[in-house]
Symmetry: C2
Subunit: 128 residues, 2 copies
Amino acid sequence: MSTEFTISDLSAEFDITTRTIRFYEEKGLLAPRRKGSARIYSPADRARLKLILRGKRLGFTLDESRSIIEMYDPAHGNRDQLHSLLTKIREKQDHLKQQLHDIEGMMLDLQDAEEKCLDALDGADGTD
Amino acid sequence: MSTEFTISDLSAEFDITTRTIRFYEEKGLLAPRRKGSARIYSPADRARLKLILRGKRLGFTLDESRSIIEMYDPAHGNRDQLHSLLTKIREKQDHLKQQLHDIEGMMLDLQDAEEKCLDALDGADGTD
DNA sequence: ATCGAGATTGACGTTAACGTCAACGTTATC
DNA sequence: GATAACGTTGACGTTAACGTCAATCTCGAT
């Protein structure tokens, strides 16, 4: 069945070590249930892991990823807490917009470099 | 004149420490000219620094940023080198595409979280 | 001459995010 | 019931990217 996963299932699927997964747990990013001493991961745990790895690909620290993940779960606070949550959400959105901008710029630069590279290859065509 | 910069000029402009700038030099990412023992940065040096910081915002390591920056300068190699450069350029493009995809996903998640948050604030309107 | 503001070179300290053992428990299978 | 395959908890090691001194230099203003 696909409703439960061992630590090595996940490490194989996402190509990370079991040490890494345990490390995320130490840091409070995961909390799988136990069967004896062994860890059993639910689909929800697996989804959290995916979010962590996505954060990693975007250069977020684990602390940042944790706080981002916490933004996704049900509202559990009073007005003040909700307001500060909203602020944090918008800060992350701004961060992502900056990243989008940076990616655009770098994409253009790389396209430029690619063209120059192709030109150089073209100009030297057969000239070896 | 704006044609030369001291290390503290740049540290002030980009809000980083001088130690950081010297560190980038140690790592071979910058090579300012010297006036006696003091470092003098040209607009080109400043541009390189901007590229480094952009890479940082996208989660690249300094090694990665260095190799990306090296992709931008004139073609200086033979066909084989140009081909491997082209390969590296396309790898970075793929990396950026993955990041774009990740950002899209996270944006959607955050919008979702934002709505839930607003709903919660709305539902509890005046209910304090 | 000196004095303070900014520069330079070491050299050691720090944090995040794991890697790398070592020593031990748990199953299932032969 | 021994062995192999997988799991567990420490505990220490490692790398990147700086921070944090300390000692020295240099240079224009007083």
